[in-house]
Every structure is written in C-alpha cells, then in structure tokens.
Amino acid sequence: MDKKGLSLKESVWSQLDRKAGAIIELTIRQLRHRLSTWVVLGVGVLIMLLLLAFYVDSVRDGFESIDNDGDSVDEDEDGYPLGQEIKYGHSDFDSSQYPGVGKYIPIGEIDDNDLLRNTSGNYSWFGQGILDPVWINMNYTGNEWDPIINWQDEINTCPEGEAFTDWVLVEYGSACVYGNGEYVFKGEFQASGSVEVPMDYYLAWGIYTDSFYVEPDPISMYIDEDDINWDDILLQSSQGFDDDGDCTRENWSEDSNWIYVDDEGEEFDNDKNGNGIICDVQWILDGDGNVIEINKDSNVDEDPIDEKFMGESSHRTFIIGVGKMAFVILLGLFLPLFLSLGLIRDETENGTLHYLLSKPIHRGEFIIYRLLGYLSVTGTYILFLSLFMGLFSSLLGPGESIIRLSDMPIWLGIGFATILVLCAYGALFNTLALISPKYGIYVCISIGVWEFVMGILTIANPNWTISAISINHWALQIIDSIVLIAWPDTLQLQQMSLAFNLETGLDIFWKPPAHTLGTSNPLVSIFISIIMLSLFTVSMLGIGQSIFKNREIM
C-alpha cells in the first residue's frame, strides 16, 4: 500500500474513533445527569456495604464449635451426656441407667414348662408368687420403668381365702402379707428367702453387679470429639479415624447394643462405604488429584473441629454467594433495566435523536457506541465495586497473610462475568425498547423475573437444562469455573461439608461447572459460557440494528 493509501486508512479509522468517542462520552454524560443512574448505582453500593457488614459481624463472632453428631445432650438429665452413656452402653432416656450403675445378670426362672415350682436364695426377683423372706431390701430401686414393690409403705393384709385360687393381685408392683409372715407379690424386688410360684405363673431371678462411681464427662468433651483425619497428601483413598470409638465400639459391653442409628440417622454400619475397611472414610479423587467424593462409615469423623473448616469455607461461600446473587443476578439485572432501556428510546421520546442522526454516522454504529457508553459507566462501576469488595473481604478473611491474593482472581472473574451479563442484557433490553418503545419495559421486566428464577435454579443445580435458557446461567457458570481454577480445593471443601455435615453453605452456592463437555475442565466451561453470552449479545445487537436501520423517525 502506498503512503497515501495508508494515511487515508488511518484517517478513516481516527475519524471513526472520534465519532465513537463523542457518542460514548455524550452517553456517559447523559447517564451522569440522570437521577435514576445515581440511585441505582448508590443502591448497589449500599447492598455491598450491607453484605460486608454482615461478613464483618460473622468474622468477629468467630466460628463456634458445634456438636455435629448431637452426642453432647443429656436427655435423661442423669448428669451423663449421650456420648458417655453410649460408651457405657446405657440409654439416655432412662435416668436409672447411667455409667457405673449395677448391671442385672439373669440366673434362673420358673415358667409354664417347669414342674418344680419353688426356689430360694438372695436375688432380685421379678414375677408373681409367695415369698417366705429372710431379708428384704427395703431400698431396692432397680430400673426406673420396672414395677418395683415399695416395701417402705405399710403392706396390706391379704384377703380371706387362698391366693391365686380365691383371689389374685391385680396391680404390678404390689404385695400383701399373710398372718404367718409370708408375702404374696406381683412385681420386682430384692430379697433373701424361699419363693413358691403357683402353676401358670412366672418368676425370674438374678443378681445386680456392684455399682461404681463414674465421673460425668463435661459436655464440651463431646463437641469436636471426632475430627476429620486425613492425609493432606491424599496418597491413599482410605482415610479417617474413629477418635471417640463410637464406630469401632471397643470396650463396649456385649448387651449394650441399643443404638441402631448412626450420626446421620441411618442404620449403623461400620462399613457403610463398603470398601472392606471398617470405620474409615473413603476419599475418591479424579485424575488431577481433586477430591470429587467422600464416603464415610457410620460414626467416623462425625464431629470435626468446626473452626478449622468453617473459616475457609464460609469465606469462600461469602465471595461466591455475593458474586452470584448480588453481582450477577441483582446488579446484572437492575443496572441494564435502569440504564440501557432508554439508550435510543429516550432520545426518540425527547426529540433529540435528530441531532445525532443528522450526522454522517450509521444507525447501526450509533447503537454500538451508545451501548459502549452505557458499558463504560456500568462496567467501570462493576469493576471498582468488585475490587473494593475483594480488597475488604481479603483483608478480613481467614489466613496468615495480611491480604488473600488468591481471592483476587475470583473477584475479577465475578466482575468479568457481570460485565458480560451487562452486555447481553444491555443489547437485549435496548432492542426490546426499540421494538416496542411503549410496552418494551414490561417485556423487559418479565424477562427480568424469568432471569431471576433461572439464576436461582442455576445456583441450585446447574445441570437442569431449563436454566440454560437464560443469560445469567452462563455467567454463573463462569464464576463456578473460575472458582475451580483459582481454588481447586473448593471441590474438596464442598465434599467435606457434604460428607461431614458442616453447614457452610458452600454446597448451596457452589457446584462444579456443568458445561465442560465431559472433560471436567473449567476452562472449557468458561470458553463455552463466553461464546454463548457473546453470541447472544451480538445477535441481539444485530436485531436491534436492523430494526433501527429501517425505522422511520417522526
């Protein structure tokens, strides 16, 4: 190309540049002169400040350790928490059953099959019969729910006639006395002597072991008592250790197996994950060494030290939640609704459009420059807002360094995804306002409602196909993907919160990206999402341009 041709080309470009600059600048100044612009931008800042305040508040409170498996309660109020009762094999619903209490050992019984209907000795007795006592334990308590005969009250004289023939005792836990000093009884008691059992009646006897004192454990002992044990290197998939022994059940008494459910309310199974190793946790990794699933046996690692995981997980949940809900879904929708709808429409309505269109500038170009003007305002705003949020939350967030640099890519990603959404909605809303200046706003609001619902659905489950028929679905996918790139262990934290019942919200706000074409590679998802959003923006822009080009301006 000769020198002249080159300079001509340059001058065409610089003129185009000047026109674009003038319209962009005019658009920015117009937006700046509108109250609604300041209101919507101000509300955005207020929302962010409010969210930061909540964050500061939660950080200051710290992360309280909670009893994840619920074994710190003392339901029967006998002074021993559930965890300690489990160890000794007692129920937490019976205050007479507690660690150290004497244990009943059955010795004999007389039932329908026995011909010999009498016996003697010093035992705890249960059933019906006639006792000729040597000694009676007046203070016998037995089990709380048992029909124990109260010997301390006055015992009634038996009625006339023969017991079990002429009359029977009706109430359990009652007795009467004959003149000869023998007792007819129905219930439980401890005594030494001989006992006769009439035909068709039943009696069992045994002894109680000596009780001994067990110091009640403090409730705090049953909070965080079974932490997550895992090898950071994750060389092997079998991890975990039953710190509190409620899975391995060592030192348990044989007959104390009364707990049939585990910490998740399911049937107790010491090899629930079926890997052939009892009381362990199975960590399943993908090819890149990321934890993609955690399966644990019952009551293993069921009460982790919350602060260790909650701090990091909650911080990430905050960033992802704010990015998705506040940036993409709220600001991403409201900024275009307030600022892009009138880009062309307002000029037509105000009667000022002819100033701009009587210039040597194509209407199609004009739309692009107007949108660029709107984007320079909203884009700059989003960028600054996300960096501001990033700076504050990374100063406040957990970690040893003063500032968490690893958060920055996420915030930039959130800003980037929001700006793409602003482009798409901007082009869409502007086009709708061109198609129908009067009713376009209602269509835009309806679309806004749809987008909001689809955004929530995407957060809940990005794999639902219907949610992909929305703009913010793809922007949310970009955030999910960038999270996986900048914080690869989010997958692990999310699996941990799911497997160990750590309520961090991470599994609510973050899911692995859905559109990876089966590669699980977040870059693929980012690429596809950018393509989808750009295609949408460009096609909306094209439709808007062709409508505007053929529009007569009265």
Binding site: S14, Q15, L16, R18, K19, G21, A22, I23, E25, L26, R29, Q30, H33, N350, G351, T352, H354, Y355, L356, L357, S358, K359, P360, I361, H362, E552, I553, M554
Partner: protein, 317 residues
C-alpha cells in the same frame, strides 16, 4: 454510488410521494435545488417538515427517488458530511453549555476534540452567541436556542443547510439576526433551504421560493414574479384615518381603484386590480387629503391569499 458527485444537484426529488396510512404527506414532488437561499413556503401541514425529514433520511419516501449530492439519504449517511440540519424540534440537551453541545456534535463529523471546540467557537461567534457559550442551554432565551441550533448545523462548514422554521417563536431582534445569518450563508454560495409559513419572513431573506400546499408543489420560482402576477388581481388596502369618507372621494377618482368600503368607523377599504399602481398613488393622495393616517394594511398580502390565488389560477387554468 456512495461517492459524492460534484455534478449532481445538492437536492433532487423525482416524483416523491409520502403517505402515512391514508394521509398524504407529500404528493408527487419533483424539484432540484442548487445554490442560494430557497424558501420553502406553505401553511402548517403543507408537507414542509415531511419533505425535510425525507431529505434527512428520517423518513423513507413511499414513492419516487430522493438524492442529495446524487446519493439516496435513506440508504447512506455520506451526504450528511456536507449537510447541516436545523430541526423544528425545540428540544436540546439543556444541561450542556452551547459550546459543549456543538463541539460534541461536531466530533460526530470526525473532528478532533480541539478542532471541534475551535470550530464551535467560530460558529457561535458567527450566530452572535460569542459571549455566552459557557452558559447552559437551559438558561437561554428562545431566540438564543434557535441560534445554537443553527450554529450546530454550520459547525462542519456544510454545502447544504436545511432550516425547518428557524424563525418560529423568535423575538424581532433574534429574527433579524437569524435572517442576517441565513442571507450571509446564501452569499457565501451555500445551498440553503428555509421553511416558513409566513410570507413576509421569507420575502426578507430570499426571492427564490417553493410553495407547498396539502403536500403538493404549488409554485416554484422567483417570489417577485409570482407577486407581480398576484398584483394584477383584486386586492384590498385597509387605511385607518380620521375621516374615511373624504379620503374615499380622492381614491375613487384615481385610476387603479375600482371600489371602496367602510368596514368600521375610521376605516377605509380600497379595492384595486393593480396593487403596485395603487401604492404608487397612495402617498400623494394622502398628502392631498391632509389627514392623519394611523395605519395602512394590505390584508391580502399574505401566504394564504397567495395560495388562494395560485389554487384559483390553477382551477381557472
């Protein structure tokens, strides 16, 4: 086709019609305009604004072809490099200063920021706003606003300037100043189209006119020639004086007058077939009557009468 041709006339309409549904805006207009100031005359609703909107590519003609410098303005924005347009719309960006307003729009012609500011100052001086261009437009009077609009149309030194009712609503001083500007542009050899519904306004600016009525092209040519034709037809002159009956006697005796009437007390209406001849004798007769005359009006000397005459002429022809 996109190249601007110097041979083509600035404005060329070939059998152009425009209708809005059932309503006809322009009806089979053909004309070519090149150089000088041309007044587009017509009553409200005659189709002046429709014509301008078609020229500015805002409306698409329903039929016929429009060319500005040989290019169809509906399809290309190229002609606008050489056109300045002043719309009838009163609306502007009131929050801007006039310098800001004009320089921003000037940049849409591809000027650099500095160049645009310099040119804007120049045109604002030209329209007589040199000392107020740092004030916001919202604070301007109607005449000043109108001049800002004109200045914006001149900033890129166009060859064709289209002004839609530029004198509408202006006070006499602003009116005079705007007329001077338009005349000056004509003298500079630019093609200027000015629309108005007031004959007297156009008469003070130019002789070259186009008359539109009900969307039709009624007349095109020199205003004086048209007027002269009109003068040969019955005209009225209304004189307010002390003693109309004395004055009437003098007029009856004179050649061009064929009748008189006394519409009101102290009023004399003279009927003539030759307006210029009647005006020629008017001063000497008044002197002769020795009366105090408070006013002389020509009630038939307006656009409506002109159009009425032209329609009549066509009807009779």
């Amino acid at each position: 086709m996109n190249e601007i041709s110097n041979k083509s006339p600035s404005v060329m309409l070939d059998h152009v019609s425009k209708w809005y549904g059932e309503v006809i805006g322009l009806n089979d207009i053909s004309l070519a305009i090149e150089g000088g100031v041309t007044g587009i005359l017509g009553p409200n609703g005659a189709g002046k604004s429709t014509l301008f909107k078609i020229l500015m590519g805002r409306l698409k003609p329903s039929q016929g072809a429009v060319r500005l410098f040989g290019i169809d303005p509906w399809k290309s924005t190229t002609p606008y490099r050489r056109i300045g347009y002043v719309s009838e719309s009163e609306r502007m960006y009131d929050w801007m200063t006039s310098l800001d307003f004009i320089s921003t729009l000037a940049r849409l012609h591809g000027m650099s920021r500095e160049e645009a500011v310099e040119r804007s100052k120049h045109v604002l001086n030209f329209v007589g706003l040199g000392d107020v261009y740092y004030k916001e437009i919202g604070k301007y009077s109607k005449g000043m606003r109108q001049r800002v609009k004109i200045a914006h149309a001149l900033v890129h030194n166009p060859d064709l300037i289209i002004l839609d009712e530029p004198l509408h609503g202006c006070d006499p001083i602003a009116r005079t100043s705007i007329m001077n500007v338009i005349r000056e542009l004509g003298l500079q050899g630019k093609t200027v189209l000015v629309s108005s519904h007031i004959l007297e306004e156009i008469e003070r600016i130019t002789e070259q006119i186009v008359i539109l009525n009900n969307g039709k092209l009624l007349a095109i040519g020199n205003l004086h020639a048209i007027r002269d034709l009109l003068d040969q037809h019955p005209h009225r002159i209304l004189i307010n004086c002390e003693n109309p009956r004395d004055l009437a006697g003098l007029f009856i005796a004179s050649e061009p007058v064929y009748g008189v009437r006394f519409p009101d007390k102290g009023q004399l209406e003279i009927h003539t077939n030759n307006l210029s001849a009647a005006h020629d004798v008017l001063p000497s007769l008044i002197v002769k009557s020795n009366q105090k005359i408070t006013s002389i009006e020509n009630p038939d000397d307006n656009l409506d009468s002109l159009i009425g005459y032209l329609i009549g002429g066509i009807n009779h022809g």
